[in-house]
């Protein structure tokens, strides 16, 4: 059975991905987190982003914030554990950045990671692409 999604989502090679559709870009101990192109496309127009406080603790797999789109609040789950060192304040006035630039200007939080080993629990770009295809074909 061949199943092609209507729109191929962008998946960037350098990033790691969670099965809840968040990405993480790692630089030493520092991680930048956002949601993927697949996620923003399925969510619809984002009208609000609920951000955590700087200094908050995040845990891999747990919710740290939310986006609102199409009458729904959807949890954003952290792909890594650590401490939030920066949040994207632009998203207060321009939540649609999550849709238009999910991997660049639509980044959501920056985290000082507590355990780099956790990155092994995430998918690389190839695995994540296949995962998205399977998800779309299943439904």
């Amino acid at each position: 059975q061949i199943c092609l999604p209507f729109v191929m989502p962008t998946v960037l090679k350098d990033l790691k991905y969670a099965d809840s559709h968040e990405w993480v870009k790692v630089n030493g101990n520092s991680a930048t987190v956002g949601i993927t192109d697949h996620a923003q496309d399925h969510l619809g127009d984002v009208v609000y982003v609920e951000l955590p406080e700087v200094g908050a603790t995040v845990t891999q797999g747990d919710s740290f914030g939310a986006v609102e789109s199409v009458k729904a609040t959807s949890d954003i789950n952290s792909p890594v554990s650590g401490k939030v060192v920066e949040v994207n304040e632009e998203l207060h006035s321009a939540p649609a950045l999550v849709n238009s630039s999910p991997y660049e200007n639509g980044w959501i939080i920056k985290v000082e990671m507590s355990d780099n080993g956790e990155l092994n629990n995430l998918m690389d770009s190839e695995k994540y692409s296949k995962f998205c295809e399977e998800e779309d074909c299943k439904h």
Partner: protein, 261 residues
């Protein structure tokens, strides 16, 4: 019992049904939030009317843009900010609430994203109103023809989601006047005022008929088991930190000042 037995045999997921009457909406929303976040069961809550008129805003709603603050303050109408998205409604004893809280795997043909869940709910209510009314899911609203009678909202976590609806079985014109015409309105609304945009469900069926038909429709996809509200086994109110909250008088008054300045 025989029907439930057959459904279980067919391998349908279990859904616990709780029928309530006149539960205060803040209490209902707190219960829903706890069930979504701390339970692993599927739930259907039906609250037949709430105790007193209350305004309920979505998570990101801006008070000064959505509500006529002065009359609300004058008439002491409570305002709640709920944990789900969506717009602003005024609810009272003539509002019927239907809430579904599901594990994403229980409805495996539905992706845990807003439009998929909304579409699934549209199909469910199609069954409820079949033969009775010209029902549609239209730009995320439930309508008869082009008039809205039900407002929806959702919240989606990693493995579960909630879809809840406030149905206008009847409404008080005075209560509608507490709400402003929202800046973001569905296209099909055009520039209609509230009274020209909404309609009353009671013109189509009785309250009990609606509730029975809803339970029957849900029974087509789930094995429904009625349980009493007393036997709901989730952490009590005091143990859980809710996002849903009542706005303070100070917050409402500040919104009043925001308009004036």
């Amino acid at each position: 019992m025989a029907v439930m037995g057959k459904a279980r045999e067919a391998g349908l997921p279990l859904m616990k049904l709780v029928k309530l009457r006149g539960m205060p909406i803040l209490q209902q929303l707190h219960l829903e939030e706890r069930l979504l976040r701390t339970s692993s069961d599927n739930w259907c809550l039906i609250n037949d009317g709430t105790s007193s008129p209350t305004i309920v805003m979505g998570l990101s709603g801006k008070l000064s843009e959505l509500v006529e603050v002065k009359p609300v303050l004058q008439d002491h109408i409570p305002i709640i900010r709920r944990f789900t998205g969506g717009g602003t409604v005024v609810v009272d004893q003539n509002t019927i609430f239907v809430t579904m809280i599901c594990n994403k795997d229980a409805v495996s043909n539905v992706q845990p994203f807003p439009r998929s869940i909304m579409s699934w709910s549209g199909l469910l209510y199609n069954d409820v109103f079949e033969g009775l009314a010209d029902f549609h899911l239209r730009e995320n609203d439930y309508v008869f023809g082009d008039r809205k009678f039900g407002g929806n909202a959702q919240s989606i976590t990693k493995n579960r989601w909630i879809h809840h609806t406030s149905f206008l079985w009847d409404y008080d014109v005075k209560n509608m006047s507490y709400l402003k015409l929202p800046a973001k309105a569905p296209q099909y609304r055009l520039t209609r005022s509230h009274l020209d945009f909404v309609c009353r469900m009671k013109e189509y069926l009785t309250r009990s008929e609606f509730i029975e038909r809803t339970i029957k429709a849900i029974g087509g996809q789930f094995s429904v088991k009625s349980i009493s509200s007393e036997s709901i086994d989730v952490p009590s109110v005091s143990e859980y930190v809710h996002t849903t909250r009542l706005l303070t008088n100070q917050e409402i008054q500040e919104a009043c000042c925001t308009i004036q300045t």
